[in-house]
């Protein structure tokens, strides 16, 4: 099934506008909220039996997509299309965070980010060689996690005091027990195989106050993917993500000791609820030194992640600069205190 959102004014294909949060018509400028767009302007066409081949309703061209794509542009006429049958049933996202960073803002934010790179080569810093920017909704699973932890530990309190010419060191040992209820809400893990996990983790956090119930028109004008891994497959990844959080919480509940050694730590975490959610990501493809570098930008907060090229000259410069200036500073202090330079 192919869906076009037709402008009630002029009939052109509307796309989601990140600034207003509405559907926007590029030809006449008409705006329409997602909730009020009349049903007759949502043009659906079913390709029965032809699950993988879609036809553009505008020009009739075949829309070629990968099997995971749920929103794209018609390769021929450029009209934004949403592939609805890939977003229904089990594949229907529950939530979405719409883009709030527009393409122009994304370009500006990326340029600003490249200028801030203190170790990147000079040519990279101009940010002028953006080859392609793609706004993409990346599928994530959000997990509500509930669990409990049973902790046993031995804590020590050490006191040192002096009587006459003897130093006494007194160590008190305590058996420490804790039973802890744990609850974590909407911990994300990206469900797309194509996306680098480390890169996606660094894009966090997203602001969940903008989390909306999913509606297809949000996708118009962007690319979107459906998940490659289901929530069962990804749970272990989320678990490994929150274990350090749980550990650090446990350590805050045991205080007042000089040292704590855990003798038993049982953490039992289960997923209570999962939400299939689409997060907005700007993918930036950047040419530098005949190599393409890929960066990702949080489409809500503008945070940029990705490995920039590193200039070894600048690294050396910073290193010698910091080393030399701190050496001089320490020498100056030593001279002020001791009165001798060497």
């Amino acid at each position: 099934m192919v869906i076009h959102y037709k402008c009630p004014n002029c009939g052109a294909d509307m796309a989601f506008d990140s600034e207003s949060g509405h559907l926007n018509c590029p030809s006449c400028g008409h705006e329409e909220t997602i909730e009020t767009l009349p049903e007759e302007n949502i043009e659906r066409k079913f390709d029965e039996g032809e699950a993988k081949e879609y036809h553009c309703e505008n020009c009739g061209a075949i829309i070629l997509t990968e099997a995971e794509t749920t929103a794209t542009h018609c390769g021929f006429c450029g009209a934004p299309v949403v592939l609805a049958d890939r977003l229904t049933g089990d594949l229907a996202p529950a939530k979405v965070i719409p883009f709030t960073v527009s393409k122009d803002e994304a370009v500006a934010a990326f340029k600003k980010w490249t200028r801030g790179g203190r170790l990147t080569p000079r040519g990279f810093m101009s940010g002028e060689r953006i080859k392609k920017m793609t706004g993409m909704y990346v599928p994530f699973w959000l997990y509500d996690i509930e669990g409990e932890a049973h902790v046993q530990a031995i804590g020590t309190q050490v006191r040192t005091y002096q009587r006459g010419d003897t130093i006494y060191t007194e160590t008190d040992f305590y058996d420490v027990f804790r039973e802890i209820d744990l609850s974590y809400l909407k911990v994300p893990a990206d469900a797309s195989e194509k996306m680098d996990d480390v890169l996606m983790d660094k894009l966090e956090p997203y602001d969940y106050s903008d989390l909306k119930d999913f509606r297809m028109p949000y996708l118009a004008g962007y690319l979107a993917e459906k998940y490659d891994f289901d929530d069962e497959q990804l749970f272990s990844r989320v678990e490994s993500k929150i274990i350090p959080y749980i550990d650090s919480y446990i350590s805050t509940t045991i205080s007042g000791y000089s040292s704590v050694s855990y003798t038993n730590k049982q953490i039992d975490a289960q997923k209570k609820k999962v939400y299939y959610t689409l997060f907005p990501v700007w993918m930036v493809y950047y040419d530098f030194d005949n190599k393409e570098h890929t960066f990702a930008m949080n489409g809500q907060t503008g945070k940029v992640v990705g490995k920039p090229p590193i200039s070894s000259g600048k690294v050396a410069l910073w290193f010698t600069g910091i080393a030399a200036s701190s050496f001089v500073a320490m020498k100056a202090i030593a001279f002020a205190v001791g009165g001798v330079l060497w």
């Binding site: 660094k202 910091i322 001791g338």
Partner: protein, 259 residues
């Protein structure tokens, strides 16, 4: 040609006069610094040390004195060297001095700072110098010990009074190591964060309403006590630390060791 020659001659004469003028007091004092009554040094060695003491003494504006004896005539080594210095200071008028005394009969040595050296070579620094020269004393290289004492003392006297000259914070290698470490850490973290920082914290996704300690118990189990003696500040052979007063009323910093 003749004019040229007479000019050269005039220069040579002038230089000669200057040399004599400078050298005179040095030669006059020369025999006064080393008092090797126990005969621990050869004549040649004594001359070399004399020159060395002369050179360093001029830099620090003190006399570096070396006194050896076979016997302190029943006195303590402090009193003996005090009497020696009183007599010398009364006759020469030089109150600023560093005096190393070796009593080969009693197998003791004492290092003292008089006048300005009481501050610039305080008792704490005396102990450091003694630490440095003890191996040479034990190897019976008394000349070497004096030489080391002179060099080390004048090195220490460069430092502001009260500062520990052997403090690690004043060492160049330490400054260099810290500088390199600091630069490494800063540039390393810049490199590590060049691709974007992880800004989620343990608090990002926690549900504060439902994450809590349900029950807790801290039960005292047992107690251990360990005892140890307060370590002594001085090692076995040390005495007379902190200096004192000579019979003639001159105060000094100093410290002694047995060997």
């Amino acid at each position: 040609m003749v004019k040229h020659f007479s000019q050269k001659l005039a220069w040579a004469l002038l230089m000669g006069l200057l040399l004599i003028a400078c050298g005179m007091p040095a030669f006059a004092q020369a025999a006064d610094l080393i008092h090797d009554e126990a005969g621990l040094l050869s004549g040649e060695e004594a001359q070399e040390l004399e020159a060395l003491a002369e050179q360093y003494g001029a830099e620090q504006d003190v006399d570096f004195l070396f006194l050896t004896t076979n016997s302190t005539d029943g006195q303590s080594i402090e009193a003996y060297m005090g009497d020696f210095f009183d007599a010398r200071a009364d006759s020469t008028g030089q109150e600023d001095a560093v005096l190393l005394t070796i009593d080969i009969g009693g197998r003791e040595l004492y290092l003292a700072g008089f006048g300005t050296a009481e501050q610039t070579l305080d008792s704490e620094r005396v102990e450091l110098v003694l630490d440095r020269i003890m191996p040479e004393i034990q190897a019976e290289d008394y000349g070497g010990a004096f030489e080391d004492a002179v060099v080390t003392s004048s090195e220490y006297m460069e430092y502001r009074p009260g500062v520990n000259p052997e403090s690690i914070f004043l060492k160049t290698w330490f400054h260099l190591a810290i500088a390199i470490l600091l630069a490494g850490i800063i540039v390393g973290s810049m490199l590590y964060n060049a691709g974007g920082k992880v800004t989620t914290t343990p608090g990002t996704y926690v549900d504060r309403d439902h994450t809590r300690v349900r029950s807790q118990d801290d039960r005292f189990r047992n107690k251990t006590v360990t005892r140890r003696k307060v370590p002594k500040n001085k090692d076995g052979g040390g005495f007379g630390g902190g200096g004192g007063m000579t019979g003639g009323g001159r105060s000094f910093s100093g410290g002694g060791r047995s060997f």
